[in-house]
């Protein structure tokens, strides 16, 4: 069955939250809450709360990146120093740990930062082509609720959005 996309724009954030809560409660046939996307001009943890708990996995990338960076640095530096195992070091260690810690630490941060960015791009699905249902108002002062559902659910969507004073409802046939 073909799916339809609807984008409703709201001026009032409380109304948008109420609309999402009602969409969840209404249990509309042909619509899954995972197919709802909230678009907002600012970071909105309180509005996102009504969407339910959604995991963020960026920190795993951070952990992997930081550890990899640190290990790479330590083995690069220690490996380079180990080349001199045959050289007389006057009793000093071939691989001195305290000074090596500095570079290990720097690369720990570098790896962490780079891979965190990579993780962000993967987790946020960026770069991406903008969806057809997009309004520049969302980057200004309005909040958008994008839903995807069966043809049969469209009327229910519209009723809920209108009830919660949506300023505009855009519609598009999807896959």
């Amino acid at each position: 069955m073909s799916k339809r996309h609807l984008l409703a724009l709201f001026n009032d954030f409380d109304e948008a939250v109420a609309a999402i809560a009602e969409l969840r409660a209404a249990n509309i046939k042909g619509f899954n809450m995972d197919d709802l996307i909230l678009k907002s001009p600012i970071e909105h943890p309180e509005v996102e709360l009504v969407l339910g708990d959604k995991p963020v996995n960026v920190q795993w990338f951070t952990l992997i990146g930081a550890c990899t960076g640190a290990l790479l640095a330590f083995f690069l530096v220690s490996g380079a120093q180990a080349n001199f195992f045959a050289q007389i070091k006057g009793g000093k260690p071939i691989v001195p740990l305290p000074p090596n810690f500095v570079l290990t630490y720097e690369m720990f941060i570098l790896g962490g930062v780079f891979i965190t960015i990579l993780g962000f791009l993967i987790c946020a699905a960026l770069p991406a082509k903008r969806s057809a249902l997009y309004s520049a108002k969302v980057s200004e002062d309005q909040i958008g609720i994008l839903v995807k559902g069966d043809e049969s659910a469209v009327a229910a969507f519209k009723a809920i959005f209108t009830k919660h004073k949506a300023l505009e409802i855009q519609e598009e046939a999807g896959k």
Partner: protein, 454 residues
């Protein structure tokens, strides 16, 4: 209590005001740009002369192997730290007032690091061998000495520069999307479209953005501290009199934050006027910034005293002689100017009447940075002029005009990069200002009508 920003300012107006700064700044903008270009011209001319004639024209010699180039290198590295302070530390502390001003402070971080990097090359002299700075082995698999603070420097600065650029860029993505949506044609539209990566402000994007920004902020704080500690180690790990001091790393970090905060005040005043940002770069925010600068100035003064005291009461007679030489010898005027500009002048900032007096603050903030530049010079040159061995003493060395020309031009280079950035990219974070307005509106909405309602 004074408001940092009006809570009744419309969000559309915020977009409009900031986007306007990308289109039509005041005429002063172009004047600043022209002056910056002229300054760069002086530096380029000096560098070409030095490059073609040889390093001798800089007036550096066997005693004074480091001179203004390294002093200015440290100055620019230090300048970069306040961007991190404002954007990362204050972000973690939920200090809302940073929101309208952190973006340009971050840009300042990036461009001062880029300026600092140039001094490594200028100091090197043999530009064609600049790749020697990179750590790689020679044909016999001999690597550079990884125990040297100079190699640490290269790693630390490269890490700081790349992380700062990424931090600046990631924090700008939602604003770049606003630019993309509001600018309808031309190269700017293409640039913003590419750089905004298709950002739509979805819940998924914001959720990941929030964690990413926070994570990088957490990384940047220890990184900034480590970078200047490592730069301090270039000195403290050597055996030169006046440098071999344990308190050097925190002293350098405090000095870095201090000069950076002073520079933020200067740039705040310039941007506020040039881009008509009076609504966003407000006087209450300036007041907080000035207080922060004052506090850091006092920390720096304290660490200065600690440094002098540890030399004075220590057992290193050469270091003590060197301190006396600094305060009474040929460098005395510059040494006392440093003390005046760095420790006495900031006392003015404690007075309320000066905390929002922009013309006075503009002059004072520049003088504070003059003091901080002198500090770096006073760390380097007197130690070379009056080292351990009397036969290396050279009290009369004075940097040549070539050195002064390159140092002078570096300020033009920084200004050019910074001002071009502010004209091409939003220098006030639109989405964060909106958040600030939103949270204030919410707070007002939930404020008890009668005291004691809660």
């Amino acid at each position: 209590m004074e408001k940092d920003i009006r809570e009744d300012i419309a969000w559309a107006q915020i977009n409009k005001d900031v986007l306007k700064s990308l289109e039509s700044p005041r005429r002063l903008y172009w004047v600043i740009l022209l002056i910056a270009l002229a300054m760069i011209g002086v530096a380029v001319g000096s560098e070409i002369y030095q490059y073609t004639t040889g390093m001798g024209v800089s007036n550096k010699n066997n005693s004074h192997v480091w001179s203004l180039y390294i002093a200015t290198f440290i100055f620019w590295i230090g300048m970069s730290h306040s961007g991190t302070l404002l954007s990362a530390i204050l972000h973690l502390m939920h200090a809302d007032w940073r929101k309208p001003i952190y973006r340009f402070a971050e840009a300042m971080t990036t461009f001062s690091l880029m300026t600092a990097g140039l001094f490594v090359m200028v100091h090197l002299g043999r530009l064609w061998q600049v790749y020697y700075v990179m750590p790689y082995p020679n044909e016999r698999w001999v690597w550079p000495n990884f125990q040297s603070p100079l190699v640490w420097d290269m790693f630390a600065i490269a890490t700081y520069l790349s992380s700062s650029v990424l931090f600046l860029y990631v924090g700008m993505i939602p604003d770049l999307a606003i630019c993309r949506d509001n600018i309808h044609a031309g190269w700017r539209k293409k640039l913003y479209t590419i750089m905004s990566l298709g950002w739509e402000g979805t819940d998924r994007q914001w959720r990941n953005f929030r964690i990413t920004y926070l994570t990088i902020a957490c990384f940047l704080i220890p990184l900034a501290v480590s970078v200047h500690s490592i730069v301090a180690s270039d000195f403290a790990m050597s055996n030169m009199p006046g440098w071999h001091v344990t308190s050097f790393p925190p002293y350098f970090v405090a000095g870095a934050l201090y000069s950076g905060c002073a520079a933020i005040i200067t740039l705040f005043i310039i941007l506020r006027y040039v881009f008509r940002f009076e609504e966003y770069m407000t006087l209450p925010i300036m007041k907080k910034l000035v207080r922060l600068t004052f506090a850091i100035a006092m920390v720096w003064t304290y660490l200065n005293l600690i440094e002098f005291a540890s030399v004075w009461y220590g057992h290193d007679q050469t270091a003590k002689d060197q301190l006396i030489f600094k305060a009474t010898g040929p460098y005395a005027p510059y040494f006392w100017a440093m003390i005046f500009f760095g420790s006495i002048l900031p006392l003015m900032l404690a007075f309320k009447r000066f905390q929002t007096h922009l013309p006075i603050l503009f002059v004072v903030s520049i003088l504070l940075n003059v003091g901080m530049w002198l500090e770096r010079w006073m760390i380097i040159s007197p130690s070379f002029a009056h080292g351990h061995y009397p036969w290396t003493w050279d009290h009369d060395q004075w940097p040549s005009l070539v050195q002064w020309g390159i140092v002078f031009g570096s300020f033009g280079w920084f200004t050019l990069l910074f001002m071009v950035f502010c004209k091409v990219f939003p220098s006030v974070s639109m989405y964060e200002v909106k958040e600030m307005v939103y949270h204030r509106t919410l707070a007002l909405k939930h404020k008890p009508a009668v005291k004691g309602d809660y």
